[in-house]
């Protein structure tokens, strides 16, 4: 009798865990978009994709910033400036991506001027960016109230994944900056080369002036705006 009870308990536990795993691991169901607003959803989703790609591209162009910091050259942030480090953390870069999208997405949707048949009210955009192993995950809360022929609809959540190995790039950059500590006046060439090889990326270093070197990390495995992803940053060495 006791044994039978135990078997039932085990089956119950397995079922509970199985169901929990099923709900946790299943792919998210496509949101039920009303056909009346699918056009708007697709339009916004297109803008989200474009702006997210632009954001990650821009982040790469500036060394992790929406607006370049004061310590920059040609809008590229200095990560090492006369023996001091100014490398932004992953969290800062995520914030910058969020700022970019929060600001620039409106420029894509353009107050929905291209969709005059709808009366669309929009609220503040709130973006959450997560730099992850598998890409840059963008979750956007963009509350839209849509009115068409006396009917009212709402849209709010949008998301997109940018196919950029930004996490890997930041790890590579951290290794470069760590190797910078070997000699404050110069850069460790083989350390940079080895790190690039290890992360399967290319690094192109370009002289900007007598003191500044621009680093271009090129990742052919990433695809941002249909091209290999380039992430730039600068170092300045005191002569």
């Amino acid at each position: 009798m006791k044994a039978q009870v135990s078997i039932f308990i085990i089956i119950a536990v397995v079922l509970v865990f199985g169901l929990a795993l099923f709900f946790l691991l299943r792919p998210p169901l496509e949101k039920n978009i009303s056909p009346e607003v699918k056009e708007i959803h697709d339009f916004v989703q297109g803008c989200v994709a474009t702006t997210a790609e632009d954001a990650v591209y821009q982040i790469g162009e500036t060394g992790g910033y929406f607006y370049s910091p004061n310590l920059s050259v040609e809008n590229i942030a200095y990560y090492y400036y006369e023996e001091q480090f100014f490398v932004p953390t992953k969290e800062i870069i995520e914030d910058e991506i969020e700022k970019y999208i929060d600001t620039m997405l409106y420029f894509c949707t353009e107050n929905f001027a291209s969709l005059p048949q709808y009366e669309i009210g929009q609220e503040k955009i709130e973006t959450k960016a997560v730099i992850d192993d598998d890409g840059v995950f963008i979750e956007i809360i963009y509350p839209l109230s849509i009115r068409k022929e006396e009917q009212t609809f709402s849209l709010e959540e949008f998301s997109y994944i940018v196919d950029a190995r930004l996490e890997e790039i930041l790890l590579l950059i951290n290794e470069i900056e760590e190797s910078q500590k070997l000699d404050t006046k110069g850069w460790c060439i083989n350390c940079i080369s080895n790190a690039a090889e290890e992360h399967d990326m290319y690094i192109h270093m370009k002289d900007y002036d007598e003191e500044t070197i621009l680093f271009y990390v090129i990742d052919e495995q990433s695809r941002v705006k249909e091209d290999a992803y380039v992430y730039k940053f600068a170092h300045r060495y005191e002569n």
């Binding site: 190797s179 006046k185 110069g186 850069w187 460790c188 060439i189 083989n190 350390c191 007598e210 290999a228």
Partner: protein, 612 residues
Amino acid sequence: MYTNLPTVMKINFIFMFVLFIGIISAATIEINKIKIDHDDKVNYNKQTNSFDFSQGGSLNVVYNGNKYSYSDLSSVDFKQGGATITKNPQIVFGSDGKIKEAYFTTGKDGNYALGNEILQLPSGTKVAYKDGKAIIQIPGKTFTPPKQIDRGNVNSYMFYSHNDQGIQLGEYLIKGGLGYEKGNYFIQDQTSLALADFVIANPNHVKTYIDFEGRQNYAYQGAYISFDKSRGVFVLGSNVNAPSPSVMFTKDNTYGLKFDSDKDYFAIRSSGGSSRSYFKITKSAPGIVPEMENFNDFWLDQNGRGFASIDGNLIGYKSHLIKDFGEHSSSSSVAVTLSGLYRTRNSIVERTIGNQVMGFSNFNEYAFGPNKRFIRLKHYKNHPAFFTGISDVESYNYDLTEKGFERLTGINLIAEDSSGTSYLNDPKNIRYLYDLVASIPKQQKNMLDEMHFHSHTPWAYGFAQYSGDHFEVHFTVGQEATASGNRLSAETWRHEMGHIVDFYGGRKGNFDKMWYNTGIDNKVIVSGYAHKNGERISEFIGHTAFASDSEIKELLGNNWHQDKIKRAAFAVAWYNYGFTDERISEIFSGVGLKYDRESMYGYMMEVGINIQ
């Protein structure tokens, strides 16, 4: 009574007296069984075993039955190597019977013992010697190396010439002092010295041996410069815990370091240390830039940009690293390659940059790569898989001309009109053509005889043809070198070269049979254009030569492990020189397939092609 002696007897008496006095004032001294005779003018101090020649006089000493005479000596008064020596003539013997200290100027030619060595010195030679170290100023420019008396210690000499006219070392005249020790020559006093085709800066006066062997030598107890102009080998090393002097090469050097501007600056220094170090430059075969090799740490300065190995790490600097020769800057650098070794703290010798070679171009660029013939440096814009880079081929660095390209590649460049002429007159375009050639296998390059350049070819971008006795490709070109767009793009080049491989027949003249008779042809249509007859092979090669891994996966699907035809297509194209080994390894590794020769032959076997 005395007064009554005969006059003759008086004279004899005086003579005998003088003789007696003479005998008792001259002396023979014996130290450690070595006999030393001196006359009465030489003042002997028994306490110090020193002989003072202030009043002249002579001294003889016998070693191994040979007598060495010291007479007509005068004082020394000279300034050398930062030391001023003013001394009356003096010789001091040690307890072993050898001279341990001596100061004199020779009054006649002869052999002179100093310590355990015999030195042949001309009259007028100034000698200052103490405890195995001699400073010698000779009237001429040459000296005869000393000979040892027995197997004891040897001296260290520094030879100078009167008025610093220089001491001859081989074909070179060394001003400022030339050292000699145990059969080896060295310099030490000079802060700066021009020698052969280089300049030595030695502000710390590190003892630096010089020889003409052109090889590393761990026996020297100091730094060393070993060069052999006939072989074009230069070695700068240090076996002590001090860096070697810096060496700056001159434009007319014999090691292949090519300066295309008078402002070019190329200087090196070797670090020394407990594991010793050397830096070697070797002139390469004609047409190839010099090879450099380091063991342990070094400094290199190219036009005000420094490179150093520190604890085995290669560090780059934006500023001068070797400042001994003043400030230098130039828009061009000296093209060289570098590979090296270093000894780790646990005494293991490792390669500084793995199995890679570092290459420096003539354009202030550097990069690493496994193949120094073409080290991939950077992508062409918008074309990530097509590289420009650094090559150890001299022409790629210094001879970016039509003729240079033709000489190196064996491919004739023909301008069909003014656009073609303008294109070929631009060095950037010649470099681009080199890059194109570097992207194909050597055997594929050898199939091509001519490249023609037009403002507009009869076809949109280019075409390839066999003209009776030679193979040629034609391209539409603009003024700008470009890897993308409608002009001579990388794909256009590979596409047309795909035709050449096809026309030529690949490796053994049967490329077409391998391709068409096995069913490959219509299973790998990579573009709309490939549907056109005769374009399939060239489209396949042109498209996939530079495609990214994801593009290849997309083009050919993800079922590689099942699709033997697609595997075979790449293997057949590679076998017939459609792709470089490097490229085929990228393609197959990108989709997780083996790419060793056996596997490649296996893929072909799967479609019935048996390569034996």
